[in-house]
């Protein structure tokens, strides 16, 4: 069996090595992320069957937890690691043709570091270590948002950095308070000592952590950085931010709320928060003219939906939330990649500049359409089982409150449908029917291959959701069975 630490060490080590390639050949460096993430994908796939049987615990430096830092490769962690590796891998192919700036080396290093940070966050079993990896994720995303160095990029990065820094300060205060009370940083160890969150001294760290991680997870009202950052970053990075970074933030919140604190009482609050986030995201996106901003607001909405589903708190609710998370990652990454290349060609982020794209770039447009349908939740794409499971979980509570919230969610879905269908129409049906000079410009293979792998995954999982439901179920039970988590780490 492979040691899950390799999931972090391989991309990290390769990221450190990248600068050396300037002495050999400038052409190799863009393949480094590709190979690193391919390795990660393979490792996480090989770990996958083992993890389903029993979570893997690895200590670092030969010290057992709670003394040393440990990695917990449970189903949830491996699910996320797999997702990160998969999306990262595909986006790294996309970057071959997309990133043409003279200083590609730095892009690739930062990209690898971002994914390393994300992987570290989802695998670690130590709250401070989680914070450290979280910071890697954040700092590399600040830099990547500003990567083009253009006006919107820098402005967004500054705003992102300020909000992110405030968020991480809060996290650090929260960790400090936890350490002060429990004298340990190991999550399982803290969790075993927390008996209730009703006392204010435990509640304060909880809200500090939720708020701090919530900034990255883009929960309303902590998400003001998101539309700016997603719309100004290079499209490949938007895909990663939307597909990975927010989800990792969400993972941190879920870990904190479920595993660390077992705070089921705050879930009701998160339930409402999720619905509000969803509604606000969709309403903001509704009349948006900038395609990437629209997608970014849609991400906020989707996050709201996921938060709602996770905070239902039942097994099927978490299951549905995780499914929706996977579905959002794949669909939104696809949308950003496809839209990114269309923007690259048309030179404008305005939706109206997409007129006639259906003729000009048939494959990319097709992929965009699939992504849009999937996000809206139409069968037979991956968004549908996700929405279905969430609604099922919510309605199974047989509670009038949940019914009302479900109707609000569906209202948001309708709004979401409206603006996505508008874009699809713009791509295919708007503009002159066929003007001369509208030559087909097929996107390069390095764009089409990842895009169509995403399309394939979206369709295949949409038709056959059982492909991932097994790992989702065990992840959900990992989250719910707090006692098992503690017992596994601290025997």
């Amino acid at each position: 069996m492979v040691n899950p630490i390799l999931l972090i060490v391989i991309p990290l080590g390769l990221a450190f090595v990248v600068p050396l390639f300037r002495f050999i050949s400038k052409k190799i460096e863009k393949f480094i992320p590709f190979f690193a993430l391919l390795a990660n994908l393979i490792i996480s796939l090989t770990l996958f069957p083992h993890v389903l049987e029993k979570p893997i615990h690895v200590s670092i430096g030969g010290f057992l937890p709670p003394l040393g830092i440990n990695l917990v490769a449970g189903p949830l962690g491996i699910l996320f690691a797999m997702l990160i590796a998969l999306v990262g891998f595909l986006v790294s192919i996309y970057a071959f043709a997309y990133i043409k700036e003279k200083d590609q080396e730095k892009y690739h290093i930062l990209y690898l570091l971002l994914l390393t940070g994300a992987t570290g966050v989802v695998l670690t079993g130590d709250i401070f270590n989680l914070f450290v990896f979280f910071e890697i994720l954040c700092i590399s995303s600040y830099s990547l948002v500003a990567y083009f160095g253009d006006k919107p990029g820098i402005e967004s990065a500054v705003k992102y950095l300020i909000q992110g820094a405030v968020g991480s300060s809060l996290v650090l205060i929260g960790i400090g308070l936890l350490y002060g009370q429990f004298g340990t940083l190991n999550m399982a160890d803290i969790a075993s000592n927390i008996h209730s969150v009703h006392s204010i001294s435990v509640f304060i760290p909880l809200v500090l952590l939720i708020t701090g991680f919530g900034v990255e997870a883009a929960i309303f009202p902590l998400n003001a950085w998101l539309p700016d950052a997603h719309s100004s970053a290079p499209s490949s990075i938007s895909a990663i931010l939307s597909g990975i970074a927010i989800e990792v933030g969400l993972y941190a919140i879920v870990r904190v709320v479920f595993t660390l604190f077992g705070a089921s009482s705050i879930l009701t609050f998160l339930l409402f928060l999720g619905v509000i986030t969803l509604l606000i995201g969709e309403l903001c996106a509704f009349n948006q003219e900038n395609i990437k901003r629209m997608l970014a607001y849609s991400s906020i909405g989707q996050i709201g939906l996921i938060v709602f589903a996770l905070s239902i708190g039942s097994l099927s609710g978490i299951n549905g939330g995780l499914f929706q998370l996977v579905s959002h990652t794949l669909s939104k990454a696809l949308l950003f990649l496809a839209a990114g290349y269309m923007i690259f060609r048309s030179g404008s982020m305005n939706i109206s500049s997409f007129e006639g794209m259906g003729k000009k770039m048939p494959y990319t447009s097709f992929a965009f359409t699939i992504g849009a349908f999937s996000i809206v939740g139409l069968p037979p794409f991956i968004g549908f089982p996700g929405k279905f499971m969430i609604l099922k979980a919510a309605l199974f509570e047989q509670d009038i409150l949940f019914t009302i919230l479900v109707f609000l969610i569906l209202l948001a879905t309708i709004i979401e449908g409206a603006y996505f269908f508008r874009v699809v129409q713009t791509i295919y049906f708007k503009g002159e029917k066929s003007t001369p000079g509208q030559e087909r410009e097929i996107a390069p293979l390095s764009v089409l291959i990842p895009v169509f792998i995403f399309v394939g995954l979206i369709v295949v999982i949409g038709i056959y959701p059982k492909l991932i439901t097994e790992i989702l179920e065990s992840s959900a039970s990992e989250l719910l069975n707090r006692a098992d988590y503690i017992k596994n780490i601290l025997p």
Binding site: V9, K106, I136, S143, I204, V207
Partner: protein, 228 residues
């Protein structure tokens, strides 16, 4: 208005934190893993500086993350600035005064030496790779102040950075293959309170020292470049 709102919000938050601080009385020994480290630290890691043993051994993975953050920031910084290293011709910088020049030249080697001392003795005395690295970087800062026209070689600094980080990772992987755990301290612990003790800790700290020093110097270099 904005200030008033900010104040109200901060007061509420402060109130909450004060309430939670009641559970954390000041100055009483109660920390459980900290206690363990102090009691067993020397035995388990061989380093007399317990902070070092925590930083490099018990929580070595954090430190790996830490140097990664620094690396990320350095790379991100140069990516954002868009590094161009060509000095514009004919650009005059006011030369430093005689005192600054002499002082810097005098201090430069001493600072290098102090920095090196600090990270080499990280496992014995207060200090370590980061502190030593920072001192080395300050030596380079002085060099920029005092010796106009002198620049650190970018390629060299990058090689040093990379090698420093790689040493850390390679040691970790060797630990993985030998001791089944990443960053396992596979070298003999030696006798505490001697230079050659504590296994891989000094090696890692030296690597970190080089890495941090060259990285911080690189950051300074980048920022100076822009300002000229």
């Amino acid at each position: 208005m904005r200030k008033l709102i900010s104040l109200i919000l901060l007061v509420i938050i402060a109130g909450g934190i004060v309430l939670s601080l009641k559970e954390i009385p000041f100055g009483i020994s109660k920390i459980k893993i900290g206690d363990y480290y102090i009691k067993k630290g020397i035995e388990e890691t061989g380093a007399t500086n317990i902070v070092t043993s925590v930083v490099v051994s018990y929580r070595g993975f954090d430190t790996l993350g830490e140097i990664t953050i620094l690396f990320t920031a350095a790379i991100g910084l140069s990516a954002v600035l868009g590094t161009y290293r060509k000095r514009k011709a004919g650009e005059k910088v006011e030369p430093p005064s005689f005192i600054v020049k002499t002082g810097c030249r005098f201090l430069f080697p001493i600072l290098l030496l102090v920095g090196a001392y600090i990270f080499i003795h990280g496992h014995l005395t207060p200090g370590g790779g980061f502190q030593g690295g920072a001192i080395i970087a300050s030596a380079f800062l002085l060099m920029y102040l005092g010796c106009e026209g002198k620049r650190i070689n970018e390629n060299t600094s990058i090689v040093v950075e990379v090698l420093g980080a790689l040493t850390f990772i390679v040691l970790g992987i060797i630990g993985l293959t030998i001791g089944k755990d990443f960053l396992f301290n596979f070298l003999p612990k030696g006798e505490p309170n001697t230079l050659l003790s504590a296994g891989i800790i000094p090696v890692i700290y030296i690597a970190i020292g080089f890495k941090v020093g060259s990285e911080l110097a690189g950051i300074i270099d980048h920022l100076i470049e822009k300002n000229q």
